[in-house]
């Protein structure tokens, strides 16, 4: 398998990473090297094998539906790039 330049640009859009001029070509070459390596997986017949998503076969723990965390909004917003009146500021989305 080999990726095309358009695919790399599409993936980058999905991942919300802007690629600078000429960057997509370098990324393409490196990703194709990585996918050549990854492609070895396809040689193995895994029909009937149960996928393993996790080392321990755990069920999600349940807990009582009670408040456990204090309100620390100010502390958490201190590290934000832009806030106002307890809200996170982003460029206008809806005109």
């Amino acid at each position: 398998m080999s990726l095309e330049l358009d695919q790399v640009k599409h993936i980058a859009r999905l991942a919300r990473i802007e690629l600078g001029p000429g960057e997509a070509e370098d990324v393409l070459a490196k990703l194709n090297g990585i996918f050549d390596l990854v492609e070895q997986m396809q040689a193995v017949d895994t029909s009937g094998v149960e996928p393993m998503s996790h080392p321990q076969e755990l069920y999600q723990r349940l807990r009582d539906d009670v408040v456990t965390e204090p309100d620390r909004r100010d502390a958490f917003q201190r590290v934000a790039p832009a806030t106002e009146a307890g809200l996170y500021l982003v460029p206008r989305v809806i005109e």
Partner: protein, 492 residues
Amino acid sequence: MLNASLQELASALADKRISSVELTRAALDRIAAENPRLNAFVHVDEGGALAAAAAADARIAAGQAGPLTGIPLAHKDVFCTADMPTTCASKMLANFVSPYDAHVVAQLKKAGTVLVGKTNMDEFAMGSSNENSHFGAARNPWNTTRVPGGSSGGSAAAVAAGLVPVATGTDTGGSVRQPASFCGVTGIKPTYGVVSRYGMIAYASSLDQGGVLGRSAADCAPVLTAMAGFDPRDSTSLERPAEDFARDLDKPIEGLRIGLPREYFGEGMDDDVRAVIDAALDTYRRLGATTVAVELPNSKLAIPAYYVIAPAEASSNLSRFDGVRYGHRAADYTDLADMYGKSRAEGFGGEVKRRILVGTYVLSHGYYDAYYLQAQKLRRLIADDFRKAFEQCDVIAGPTAPTTAYEVGAKCDDPVQMYLGDIYTVAINLAGLPALSLPAGLGGAGLPVGLQLIGNYFGEARLLSAAHRFQQATDWHQARPARASEEEGSPR
């Protein structure tokens, strides 16, 4: 004094032969002298460390000291600390100060340790050489033209150079064990779920596990004991009774069955590494262990499977860095999508971007089954291989890495060459098993070689015991790189 074992340090502190303030001052002085050439630390907190040391001295004077009270240590900069920056060695988090402590940080604080600073690493723990750091690569104390390994390279370099007696690390595909091997220190990654991931910035959540790097197994054991334990804030933290990982250190080794996987002794391992590993296995036989050939037939699939699963989970985890709630935001943008795209383009380095892109692709519509699902099926086969091998043996041994530390710059332009160096370590994370690397000798260029010991689930105490017995019989763990300070003090 910084060369002493933790046990010696604890008894010196208890007998008031030294104070924690003096010990901490010595660590800070060593860091100031050595860090310019090693770049092992990305942040040092002199004031905070000396205050914590004074508090530890008060605890000791009050007779309330534990085995780690007053011991200076460093955290890999992937662990959130409320008192100092947490950068993950990324421009994205260059100015980030966490509002809370990671569980590991809180546990070690409670144990009375003195946090002197944060260590360098590959950005977001993605890398095997520490070269993917926004702050520049940490250097190997044995030879500063060489890499210290990665991603916990700063922690390994700091311990190897005697800047701190112990340091934390994290291991997603070998990131504790491989730098331990390259720098000649002991490093253990426990069973997945033993150490809480709360406040440990996520790379690949089903593989990430916190660990320790120290000069010996006996030094790592009490630190792991303090770090480990159930934490409800990590949904995959295991509810198990508290364990003393040092409990088996002095158990005899006679009768230990060591499995040697055929696949770990084939082509690809450098000759000098092989010679050291063979000699270490001879030592184990002399000490009364037996060796048995085992098979891990799907070993060669571990790297491809890992480099699908880890990027897939990374692409999801790192979507949180969008320039809205924390981290870098681009200065100029036209709209929200442009702000995301530019903030992430500017904030992430090349390897992090590549892994996010690989992960985005393998999770995208039409490719999920062929890549992600196939990798998860291979993961099952790899875990089953280990399960079968452990029917014949108690621990599995082999090299930690196929080479000793390589030159800075040797592999950083070729991700695939870099990935292939993880051949002996990634399968252990896929299976979720515990493993450690211990210094087993020096290779051709006088650089350390690590022996990897892999345990069955929850076999940490046994692994540490097996490493400790080796370290009682040999002194490779006491071999030290030539020091800058000694070089300066050499006869004129």
